[in-house]
Structures are given as structure tokens and as C-alpha cells.
Amino acid sequence: MERQQRRIYITQLLKQRSVDITEKQSALLEAYIDSEEVIEQCRLISVTTDTLVMNLQENIALSNIREKLLQLPNGTVDKPYTQTFSLTQYGLEKIASFTLQFPESLGINYDQQTGQISGVPLEQGEFRVRMFFKLTNQSDPEKTHEKEIAFVVNPDPKKLWRNIPSSADSIYWKPDEVKELTTMLGHKLAVASKRGRSHAHEGIFRDDDFEYFFDEQTGYALIAVADGAGSAQFSRKGSQLACEAVVNYFKQIPAEEYKQLDDVITAYHAQKDEASKNALNEFLTQRFSKAPFEAHQQIAAFAAELAKNSGKEVKLKEFATTILFVLLRKFDFGYSVMSFSVGDGGMGIYRRGEEVMMLGTPDGGEFAGQTRFLTMPEIFADTSFYKRIGFRIVQDFTAIVVMSDGITDPKFQTDANLARIEKWDELWDDLGGKNNDGAVVNFSHDNENTAAELLAWMDFWSPGNHDDRTIAILY
């Protein structure tokens, strides 16, 4: 302490202790301040108070650091991880130097030189990273402090999915996956249907279904795909009943009527006259509203029967399902395609690199997953009901495709994309092998494994898209 400081200090001290000093004593004090003894004592006081304040500051800084919740950005197992670690980003300016120590087997390290944290996490979990640090101007320069930093490593979602077979003893059980290859209209039809990962994870059922027929006699073929609502208890049965009902309905139409229909379509194609147009409309409005209504009725009857037998209330919506179907016929001039849809998913007549004709518009809502079902009575009263019915004549095609939303969601993302030829070309290339899984579907007519290849292709990975998948391809 300088003389002036000593003087102030001692005067204040005396005042504090209420020691009064007279005029006369004041000279004595001046001499006293300059004594060796006082100089030494003041030096010691100065050192002591400095240490006291420094320790206090150090403790405050330490406690501020200890109170902080420090977290590194999350990592994911097997995914390369790089982060720059800086003190300012965590408000740790009081730290002079530090090192980070990651759990040994984690595969992550901190590079003191570059300030980079990097590596590939080998293990999932919630880890503690140890930070050893020294403060700026700390009292004991040798002392190292420690603080834990939280670090979460997410699992790889791919590895978390379980595949639990559904119980074959359960009511309305159906196989978790099915594939079929058949011939119709001089083409091949490959169909594959596979339970989604979200269902496999829980050991529950495939809710999708399909059915088809081809009658050599009349020359008519039908392909139906249905998607049972995930939330409905018996939707796996609903989708099956819907497909069967539609197929049976068109099977029981007399050959004579199909023959008349042939003439109507041929006349319509040739002349587009009023008479053939009306006759065609008559068939479509009659048969294509009665078939889905018949399916609706059959499901309702099935639900009522179940209620009767079980003595419990069974709601029709427990069988909620969508339905998409096409009725096809080959002519000299091309193909007639009649279609009906309620719900999501998609149907199209695809000509590679040229054109896609969408059949029907998916029923979507404001949010994902909102759609309409065959089991909703109101769809039949809706004024837009006839928009569900479609008719096309095409000369030829690469493929006619009917698929559930388990395919359209990951492959087309939006309903608007379903009308875009680029997206269909991408899908076709994808089927042909342009994918990360090495899956190839060979659509040559002499390949007997097309359906099996299609089923294998359907195992494709798409984050968040793990619904049941069904696709029917006529090629």
C-alpha cells in the first residue's frame, strides 16, 4: 500500500471502530503510518483482502459454470459427428483452458488444436462428457475443475424396428405378405402386398388387401386394392371383404351384358355419338355405384352378424377400408379402363416417358392420413360421388398400376405429384433397379419371379413411411 492508501485505510478503520482522534493526536498518526510495523501490517492486510475477494470471485464463477445446463448437439449411432466447441457459445468466458473427455468406447474425440469434436458414435445412449478446466486468474494455478456436459446419441431408427409375426390364431388373420403373378388380357399382372414396419413392430396385422379376376369368356378383368384403416379394429377384414365383394359383383354380371358393353364401348370409340355415350354412362353410373355400395352393404352385414353372435356392439367403422378398382377390357383399338376409388392411394395408366393418366383423385384432408372410407355411408349420398368413377380408352401402356398409400406416400409424397409423369418415370426406374437397396424388378413376360422381386423391392426404406404397402402392376 502506498502512503496515501495506508492513511485512508487507517483513518476509515478508526472511524469504523469509533475511535476519535484529536487535532494533537493527528500528528502522531501521521508518524505512525510511516512506521515499519504499520507498513508491513498493511501489506499483509492487502494481500489477505485480495485473496479473499479473488476466492469469492472464483467461487461465483465456478458456481455459475456448475449451474449451467451444458448439452452438446445430439448425435446418432453410426452417423459421422462433427461439432466445433467454443466457450463463448456456452457462455463460459471465465474459463481459461479446458479439455474434453468423452467416454472411451464411444468413438468421439475432442481435438484441442482445432477445437473440433468429431467421430462416429458407436453406441446409443445418454452420455456425460467430462470437461476439465481452469479459470482465468485462479488462486491456485495448479487446480483443475470439472464439469459434466450432456451428450445424447440417438439410436439408428432402422435398427429399432422389430419384426414380430402376427398371430395366425387371431380372428381374421391373414398372411403378413402375399405375392401373386398371373396372366390377363395378354399381359402379366404382378401383385405384392406387405405388412408395414409399424405393424410388424407391434406384431399386428396387414390391413391392406387385394383381389382380381380375369374372365376369358367375356374378356373382362378386374383389379382391386383396399387399405384398411390402421385405427379400426377389424379393418384387415374390411379390406378383404371390400375386394371380394367388388370382384364377386363384376363376376356375376351376365355375359350378355358384357357383350352389350363391348358394343357400346366400340361404338363410343368409333363415333362418340350421344347414344353410345348415354349407354356407357348408364353402365358406369349403374354398375360402378352399385358395386361399391354392395361392398359397403356386405361389410355392414358382416359387422351386424358379428354383433349378433358376440352380443356386443360392433361399429361399422371398425371395418373401415378404402377401395380402388379398375375394370379392364382389351379391344382391337386399345384398352378400355373403368375405375372407381374411395380413399387414398393411387391408380394410373402409365406410358413411360410420355404420359400418365391418373384414375380418380385421392381423398385427402388438411392433415396427413385423413381420408374417406367405403364404410362411411355419407360417401354414397355425396353429390360428388360420380367423380369417383372414371373411364378411359388408351391405345397401349407400359403399366396400369393400382397402389395403396403405403406406396404413394413415400414414392409420390403429394397428391399433385401423382399426376406428374416425371414422378412415374422415377418410380419405374426405381423398380428397374435405380435404388439404394439393389432391388430390381424384371418386367419381362418370361420372368416367373416378377411378383417375388416386387415383394422384395417393397421392403424399401423411407423414414416415417412404414404403412402397409400394396401394389398391383399390369404390364
Partner: protein, 213 residues
């Protein structure tokens, strides 16, 4: 390609009465919730979480963030003050307008959002609360669960928000942990109900959780 998101909004009461063990239990519970969800592959790929707290102030302390990169801040509480639940619901509707995507044309819509609200009291801003409740009711949530935690939490106000009200007898760590575990299981049911226009079916609650009928 981004997958469809399942937005999950958590509204937590941080009013003065939550100070001490309850808020500590909430912090633990949230950690448990995240740990559980991270083990669910569906949640890990689709769940996005937002956290809104309400006391005297209402704050969105976590904007809607994907589970994979979510870092949970510590939830704190002031020493005392009102429970502005109405203002919290109002803020919720505002942030959802900005954060939740509905589908049309080229836009890919989110899954319908889930809402969990937890309180140990009742709304202090009752007039605002009553004016917002119908908007919450008419919003197309896949599920709204309101939780009354502790003796002074009043079920009747929560019943105005949703039919699904659960009551916890105490707001201690064990009870809240089992509540948040149940929340995680409820979010997981999004799994089974992807094609649904119905309200989600909740998993059976553990013993500590009483369904208020």
C-alpha cells in the same frame, strides 16, 4: 426426403405452486419422456416436439423441433404468481398457425397434432381461457390430453378443453415419471393410427393415473 411430421405440443404449468419438488419432477419426467421416445423408431423418425410453459408469463421455450436434434432446456418456475392457462392456449394456436403444415397441392401435410397439457391448479385468466377453449375444441387435434396434477388441480376446467382428462393424486417424481411414460406410449399409438379420421385410442394408464370420467 423429409418424412411426415407428427407435431406434439406440451403445455406445462410453471406457476409458483410448482416450485420445488413438482418442477423437479417435471424436468425428470420430460427427460424420461424423451428417452422413451428415442427408443421408438416411429417417434424417432416422425415426432416433433414443442414446449410451452405458463405462469405469469407464457413462453414457448422449445419451438417445434425434431426429436432427433431436440435439446431439453431446464424448466424453471418463479416464486409465485398466477396460472395464465388461457394465454398459453392462445400462444399455442398462434405458434401452430406458423409451425404446423397442412397439405394441399404440392405441400405435404403433417399428421394431426397431439396436445398434452399439465397443471397443478386452474386458469387464473378465466375470461381469456373461456374464449380460447372453443378454438382448441374445434382444432383438428388427433388427441388432447389434459392432466391435473396434485390435490389443488381442478379437473372441471380441463374438462372444458378435452374429454380426456387424467388426474394425478400427487405431483411427485414417481407419479409424474409414470405420467410421462404414459404420454410417450400415447404418442407411440400414432404408430397404429396413421390412416385415421378418428380420435386416437389411448393405451391403458398406469395405476397412478386416474382417468376422470
Amino acid at each position: 426426403m423429409a418424412s411426415r411430421r407428427l407435431p406434439v405440443y406440451l403445455l406445462l404449468d410453471t406457476s409458483g405452486s410448482m416450485k420445488g419438488e413438482p418442477i423437479h419432477a417435471v424436468n425428470n419426467g420430460l427427460q424420461v419422456l424423451l428417452s422413451k421416445l428415442r427408443q421408438d423408431p416411429y417417434a424417432l423418425e416422425t415426432v416433433w416436439i414443442s414446449l410451452i410453459t405458463f405462469d405469469r408469463e407464457v413462453k414457448q421455450i422449445v419451438p417445434l423441433t425434431d426429436l432427433e436434434s431436440l435439446l431439453l432446456p431446464e424448466v424453471t418456475t418463479p416464486d409465485s404468481g398466477p396460472t395464465n392457462m388461457g394465454a398459453a392456449l392462445e400462444l399455442l394456436l398462434n405458434v401452430m398457425r406458423r409451425e404446423v403444415k397442412t397439405g394441399a397441392g404440392d405441400d405435404k401435410g403433417d399428421w394431426r397434432p397431439l396436445l398434452f397439457l399439465m397443471t397443478d391448479g386452474k386458469p387464473s385468466d378465466l375470461a381469456l381461457f373461456r374464449s380460447i377453449v372453443p378454438k382448441i375444441r374445434s382444432y383438428n387435434f388427433a388427441m388432447v390430453v389434459a392432466c391435473a396434477a396434485g390435490a389443488s388441480a381442478q379437473d372441471s376446467f380441463l374438462k372444458e378443453i378435452t374429454d380426456t382428462v387424467v388426474h394425478l393424486d400427487t405431483a411427485d417424481s414417481n407419479t409424474l415419471t409414470s405420467f410421462f411414460k404414459w404420454v410417450s406410449a400415447s404418442i407411440g399409438t400414432g404408430n397404429q393410427s396413421v390412416t385415421s379420421t378418428e380420435q386416437l385410442v389411448l393405451p391403458p394408464p398406469p395405476d397412478e393415473i386416474n382417468m376422470v370420467i
